[in-house]
């Protein structure tokens, strides 16, 4: 449909859905059924709704969401793999007036950057952290990550992850909830409308905790990687509900806000 035809077709209609202002017009390059796009959008909507687009700085991980800077209409920093929490801390300490969020995958947050993630949480740094847990390394080719489920097949656990070799899946949110430093830790998912709504609320709450100076907020979001899971998007959504959630239950884990 041409622009003209579209305009004619929709004349007199109220616009009820649009791209968030905090996203630009670039199309996401995520795979079909991947949840990054939904999560990116939820973050952008929240930034819009809180009116903080002008003074928000995002820090992106290495991985499929390395391109946050291409899609977000805000200042973005692209640090080394695993260092996102520490870099966000550096930005926030230098400029406490900025809203700073860290966007990290499970390899970034729970493996190579565990030291940095843990200490940012324990210091109660006033930053908002999004931990996108899709139970493997997506971009490099579907290798096992620390959050990979037991018996889950990946390109580095061809017979499935065995606890005797690699230990059980790491539960970062529960682990960090044992600390006195963090303010809010929650685990969410985006595989259906209800969960998307809840995730959006959690994202908003996590940002508000920062704008109110209340400290460290972590939103873990269970995310699908249909390509590396070898499933279609619908099956991938079902897997989260039926398998992943059993290991990583949804809901608030810590709330001192």
């Amino acid at each position: 449909m041409s622009k003209e035809a579209l305009a004619e077709d929709t004349a007199g209609m109220e616009k009820v859905f649009d791209r968030p202002k905090s996203l630009n017009n670039q199309q996401f390059s995520y795979c079909p059924g991947c949840h990054h796009g939904v999560i990116n959008r939820l973050i952008a909507e929240t930034i819009d709704e809180l009116g903080i687009q002008d003074n928000t700085v995002g820090t992106a991980p290495v991985g499929c969401s390395v391109f946050l800077y291409k899609w977000f209409d805000i200042d973005v920093i692209q640090p080394a793999h695993g260092r996102v929490s520490a870099v966000a801390t550096g930005v926030k300490r230098a400029r406490p007036d900025l809203n700073v969020f860290a966007y990290q995958g499970d390899g970034d947050f729970a493996s190579i950057g565990t030291n940095n993630s843990t200490h940012a949480a324990n210091r109660g740094d006033n930053i908002t952290v999004f931990f996108i847990n899709n139970t493997l390394y997506g971009m490099t080719g579907g290798e096992m990550s620390p959050t990979t489920l037991l018996n889950q097949k990946t390109t580095t656990t061809p017979k499935g992850r065995k606890a005797k070799d690699f230990g059980p899946p790491i539960k970062m949110s529960e682990m960090l909830s044992a600390l006195d430093g963090p303010t809010y830790i929650t685990r969410q998912a985006v595989y259906d409308v209800k969960r998307i709504d809840q995730t959006k609320k959690a994202i908003k709450k996590a940002f508000r905790i920062q704008t109110e100076g209340k400290g460290y907020a972590l939103v873990e979001i269970l995310s699908a990687c249909p390509i590396n899971w070898g499933m279609d998007p619908v099956k991938a959504n079902e897997r989260i509900k039926e398998e992943v959630e059993n290991v990583y239950p949804l809901g608030d884990i810590l709330d001192r806000s």
């Binding site: 003074n55 973005v76 692209q78 550096g90 809203n99």
Partner: protein
């Protein structure tokens, strides 16, 4: 300039950084630079917007530098050799992202845990790229405490001017010893030129992005060529060195940092015995003063390099001097500091 103060090198470096407008300092404790961290812990909170944070690790500290430097504020970290090795990831990213920042290395003995005595074994690491990829740092090598303060102060200007990480490369002796220092007057960082590239929130402008990432070979090639062009500019403009008695000496001694000041005493001893020792001291280890050294070597028989390592800077000396003169090397290692008389003995083998 203010009154003279008796200060440790580590303290003088820290205070000079604050006076240069450094407002963010992140580090991890390690000997022999602990006093630097301690000075910052005590004094950074006293200045407006001053941030001191003891990081969870060296890697954490350099990553915090990356974040704070992204906002355009003057930012520093410091460590000693093993800690600097850990920071190499971050240093490569700082260079790739062109983030102005200052890194202080108070060198100690290596490899591995080595010891905490003064050494110069990190010359290669500092000047030839300790991390991955094609990049350079400006490397400044003070040989006295007052010079350590002065170079630290100036390193922030250099870092801003070229959007480059600058390394102040000293050793445990300069870090630990006390000398009288006249500190520069503090500047007000709010008067520094704007950094339009910094990630400070868009506030109506187009978004800024800090990254060292570029997909596509041609894309990265072009970015890397721009970096090389910048390095060439620095090579042309920023070379620094000191010369003492280089007009027709019996031998020219090339040394940096601590060794250069010991060489001064050797020169004095030599004079008493009728040996004229000239001293050439590179202050910028990168860019290395190759042209001047080449020029001097035209009329010399011997250019002796003395270092507290197994022979690192001597490679740059040989590249500069080529076959114009003999280029022997004398080094001490493991934290052993050569004495003036030992240097003089070595000189006697060559004159």
């Amino acid at each position: 300039m203010g009154e003279k103060k008796l200060m440790r090198g580590n303290e003088a470096i820290a205070e000079a950084a604050i006076r240069a407008g450094c407002r963010n300092y992140f580090a991890y404790p390690i000997t022999p630079q602990a006093e630097l961290l301690q000075w910052m812990a005590n004094h950074m909170p006293e200045v407006e917007n001053g941030t001191f944070l003891q990081a969870e690790s060296e890697v954490g500290a350099i990553s915090m530098v990356y974040g704070a430097a992204s906002t355009g504020e003057r930012t520093m970290t410091s460590s000693s050799s093993p800690g600097i090795s850990l920071k190499q990831e971050g240093i490569s990213y700082l260079a790739g992202s062109e983030l102005p920042s200052v890194i202080v290395n108070i060198m100690r003995g290596g490899p591995g845990l080595g010891n905490i005595q003064p050494a110069q074994g990190d010359y290669f690491q500092s000047t030839k790229g300790g991390g991955h990829g094609d990049y350079q740092l400006i490397v400044l090598a003070p040989s006295t405490v007052p010079e350590a303060a002065e170079l630290t102060f100036e390193s922030f200007d250099l870092a801003d001017k070229y959007r480059i990480p600058v390394m102040v490369l000293a050793d445990g002796m300069i870090g630990q010893m006390m000398e009288p220092v006249e500190l520069p007057s503090p500047i007000d960082p709010s008067n520094l030129p704007d950094k339009p590239w910094a990630t400070t929130g868009t506030n109506g402008r187009d978004p800024n992005v800090i990254r060292s990432f570029a997909l596509g070979a041609e894309n990265l090639k072009s970015i890397n060529l721009d970096l090389q062009e910048k390095y060439e500019k620095i090579r042309k403009r920023e070379i620094r060195f000191e010369e003492i008695g280089v007009e027709d000496p019996d031998i020219l001694l090339v040394a940096f940092g601590t060794v250069a000041r010991i060489a001064r005493t050797a020169r004095r001893l030599g004079k008493k015995e009728g040996i004229d020792i000239g001293i050439f001291r590179p202050i910028t280890l990168w860019p290395f003063p190759d042209e001047r050294l080449a020029e001097l070597s035209e009329s010399l028989d011997t250019v002796l390099t003395v270092e507290m390592n197994a022979g690192q800077m001597v490679e740059d000396v040989r590249l500069s001097v080529k076959s114009r003169a003999q280029t022997p090397f004398y080094g001490e290692q493991g934290g052993v500091v050569p004495t003036p008389s030992e240097i003089l003995e070595e000189v006697k083998h060559h004159v």
